[in-house]
Amino acid sequence: MDRIERIGLGAAIVAHLLLFALLSIALVARDEPPRREAVAVTLADEIGLQPSATDRPAPAAQDSTLQQDLDSMVPDIVEPLPQPRVEPTPAPRQTERRTPTPPRERQPERTQPRSQSSRMNGITEGIGQANDTGTSASAAPVSSSDRSNLISRITNAIRPCYNLGSLSGTAAEDIVVRLRIQPSRDGSLGRGQVSVLGTRGVDGSNRQYESQMVEAARSAVLNPRCPLPPLPAALYENGWSDVVLNFIPAQLT
């Protein structure tokens, strides 16, 4: 047994020496130097304007901003997909409902150069002109109980698509967005039929989220998964032809 122990001890010493030698070598061959250099990524301002890009018109003027560039890319406002709908119970004029909504005219703001300083410009374009598209005065008044009934049906339909996503749980939840929607008689709603009346609750802590909150509200009404419910045609004029919606992010619990 003594011999076995001595052999073991000897082996251990040899192994330690070996290990020491190995580690000494490792010490000399220390840290690999970094190979990768920080590289500059330059932003190509005229992306897509190169001759090779087949899709672009002539290069924009020198003073053109990104926003203007974007505008030039915007096709004329396209009406949304015709949405299959359940017909309202009282079916008044079949033919009229079948008729696709006439394309809305291009909004005046679109042709004007936009300031690049504010992102809001792109989405608050309806402000100020919403009142010009008033309702016809000839239709019969709609009773207040009908109105509140319409409102609850509309908001119930839209709420499941009011998605805050990343904005949930942030200071953005203090921002209330006021939207005006003016659906067509067939219940369809295109981008040109939605205007932003304004926001409330914006302060230094959440200004960065303002356009996103507006877009969340706009997306809620434009989301094809949440179309307007079938609404009585008789209540269209002075009723659901013109609706203002306040999007209030956080529910009181």
Partner: protein, 168 residues
């Protein structure tokens, strides 16, 4: 023959465990040495005077233990440290490193500081007992070098320690 080899294996396993402690005490991150080594021979010749084995044999243990987040040296620790001091005074040429360790239930950086406190608590006591400060180096390993691997009170108690490391 079979009996002998069984004993040898047991001994080897035991020495591996003990060696685990040694390699932990050693400053470098050495992988565990091969099985079969036995650094503090307790054979007829006894440990070499001034060696680590001699220190542990004479002082009883190289380790003192601490309560959670504490670094004070209690009566049990003092008894251990008194024996260590006696040995160190009797072997004046030996320089030691005093390691401070912590359990895993602390943040990394705080434990580095706490381990340093523990190592210093042990070193200060040894200095009081007459061991020259110039012979002692303190180092903290925080929670980075546990001896017990479990995540339970018993393991943590074993890891809250200061170890007086005599060179091999």
């Amino acid at each position: 023959m079979t009996k002998i080899s069984k004993t040898a294996i047991l001994l080897a396993a035991g020495s591996l465990l003990a060696l685990g402690a040694c390699s932990r005490s050693a400053p470098d991150e050495l992988p565990p040495p091969p099985v079969g080594s036995n650094d503090y021979d307790t054979g007829p010749t006894g440990p070499v005077p001034g060696s680590r084995a001699d220190f542990i044999a004479q002082a009883g243990t190289d380790t003192i233990y601490f309560d959670t987040n504490m670094h004070d040296v209690d009566a049990d620790d003092r008894a251990v440290l008194d024996a260590q001091a006696a040995w160190l005074i009797a072997n004046p040429s030996v320089r030691v490193t005093i390691e401070g360790h912590c359990d895993e239930r602390g943040t990394r950086e705080y434990n580095l500081a706490l381990g340093e406190r523990r190592a210093n608590a042990a070193a200060n006591y040894l200095a009081q007992r007459g061991v020259a400060s110039s012979r002692m180096t303190v180092i903290s390993y925080g929670k980075e070098r546990p001896v017990a691997l479990g995540s339970d009170q018993a393991s943590w108690a074993q890891n809250r320690r200061a170890v007086t490391v005599v060179p091999m």
